[in-house]
């Protein structure tokens, strides 16, 4: 099962991941990502986009 994982100390809450993948990524009241479960198989490319746009390299795709 593929998941997105946040490197929390690296995350600065810029929110770009949410812009490219809003179906799975929400932002909390402070602007940090809230991940809604594992990445569906047909959405892995979107998840990769989210990983790629993170300016602090705080997002990783793991497992699967």
């Amino acid at each position: 099962m593929t998941r997105l994982r946040v490197d929390w100390p690296a995350c600065r809450g810029r929110g770009l991941c949410q812009e490219v993948f809003p179906e799975l990524i929400d932002l909390d009241e402070w602007g940090y990502p809230v991940l809604d479960g594992p990445v569906p198989d047909d959405q892995v490319a979107r998840a990769r986009d989210a990983v790629r746009v993170c300016p602090t390299l705080a997002l990783r795709l793991v497992g699967g």
Binding site: D7, W8, A10, C11, G13, W30, R60, V62
Partner: protein, 426 residues
């Protein structure tokens, strides 16, 4: 200014001699007395040590209760393994590792050395508590008394709540500030400088040491079939000296608590623990599995009891204020969420807050950090609603009921001013 701990950091404590780890400590903590008591350190191969620790079901005593043999198995067979003794207690209410290192440092070192030899590790790292220089000195002294033909390195951890978190310790060992970082793999696979690292709490190592000396049959003379052996508890009634006791698994909690605690709710597991009512507490036995199944894990073995007549909401609020200040401030949800949680709790204790806000904030910090600090703080806040909802409701209706300070029930006392609920408030 970070809020001070409601329980003094590195406060005084008494130690009650115990049946296993804390037995025979009247002869002092020296190496000669230790060897007289336990004999020479047996040389165990890895399979034997794995077998012993599996059968005796040795669990981590740092808080998570993780099976020691699982860590050992994960590290086995990998290149250049490392052994780490974590003698730091980030939790102000805990004194059991300090007590253990003071009374039986060589049992701790025996566990680490046996494991290092079985694994083929050449390095043992000792992580010493910065807030307790006497404990740090005792463990350094004990390490110098021995010649285990291992490289022993000592490190002093900051007196910060999160400094004992596993990844924070690995950072310290690497020469960086001891703050938690994201672990992509378990330390037993890729820990200190990416080498396989068996990192355990001081008490865990002492149990491994005792088991190496006594074998499973000797070790299991105490405890239950499912959970052999003993565990150390720190029993603390606020405003009094804490007591460290070694109790067999399966012991009734009410039998080990001091009389001042009777009739009071308690925080089981310390600052990252859960509130339990006296009725529940009186029915509980010391058991990692049972307490975890009940949603009130034993953690590192702290039982913290409010002073008689002290309001548990106010105490929780002060603890969460302190915990919020102890965040390393590196993970956004913890940096923002814990102060928000602290403020929501202050509002509830003052009669003006909302419990749904408390629950929402707890949900927003859980599993969203590099370490367990936000999770533990959220657990504490949630447990207040689970165990002491009557107290919480009473505050929100504008009153602070007295605790049932005695079994007979104390008269109602207002211990702090609670403003009347605003008109139309829920």
């Amino acid at each position: 200014m970070r809020p001070a701990s409601p329980v003094p950091v590195a406060g005084p404590y008494d130690v009650v001699p115990g049946p296993a780890l804390l037995a025979g400590t009247a002869e002092g903590p020296g190496l000669a007395a230790h060897r007289d008591r336990h004999g020479p350190l047996p040389d165990l191969d890895l399979d034997t040590l794995l077998d012993l620790t599996t059968r005796a079901r040795v669990r981590g005593r740092g808080g998570a209760g993780f099976p020691f043999a699982t860590k050992l198995r994960a590290a086995a067979g990998r290149r250049r393994p490392v052994v780490v003794v974590n003698a730091g207690e980030g939790e102000p209410a805990s004194a059991k590792d300090a007590a253990l290192v003071g009374a039986a440092p060589h049992l701790v070192l025996d566990g680490a050395v046996t494991t290092a030899r079985a694994l083929g590790a050449r390095e043992v790292h000792l992580v010493l508590p910065g807030e307790r220089p006497d404990v740090a000195a005792a463990l350094r002294f004990a390490a110098r008394e021995r010649d285990d033909r291992l490289r022993v390195h000592a490190h002093v951890a900051d007196a910060r709540f999160v400094a004992g978190q596993e990844t924070a310790v690995l950072e310290l060992l690497a020469g960086r500030p001891g703050f938690p970082v994201t672990a992509w793999q378990p330390a037993s696979v890729a820990g200190h400088r990416r080498r396989p690292t068996v990192l355990s709490n001081a008490e865990t190592w002492a149990h491994v040491g005792l088991l190496a000396h006594r074998g499973v049959a000797g070790y299991a003379r105490h405890g239950t079939d499912r959970e052999p052996g003993t565990t150390l508890l720190t029993l603390a009634v606020r405003g009094r000296r804490a007591t460290v006791r070694e109790v067999p698994y399966g012991a009734r909690l009410r039998d080990v608590l001091p009389p001042e605690a009777w009739g009071q709710p308690a925080l089981l597991g310390g600052f990252h623990g859960s509130w339990v009512t006296w009725e529940t507490l009186a029915s509980l036995r010391v058991s990692v599995d049972r307490l975890r199944a009940l949603g009130t894990p034993l953690g590192a073995g702290v039982v913290l009891v409010p002073a008689p007549g002290e309001c548990p909401l106010r105490l929780t609020s002060r603890i969460v204020d302190y915990l919020a200040g102890q965040s390393a401030g590196r993970c956004g949800p913890c940096l923002n969420g814990l102060p928000a949680l602290a403020s929501a709790l202050r509002a509830v204790a003052a009669g003006s807050g909302r419990t749904d806000r408390l629950t929402a904030l707890a949900g927003l910090v859980e599993r969203r950090g590099a370490c367990a600090h936000p999770d533990g703080t959220a657990r504490l806040a949630r447990s207040l609603l689970a165990a002491l909802l009557g107290e919480v409701d009473a505050h929100l209706r504008g009153g602070c009921p007295a605790l049932a300070g005695t079994a007979l029930g104390a008269p109602t006392r207002r211990l702090h001013a609670v403003p009347a609920a605003p008109e139309g408030a829920a």
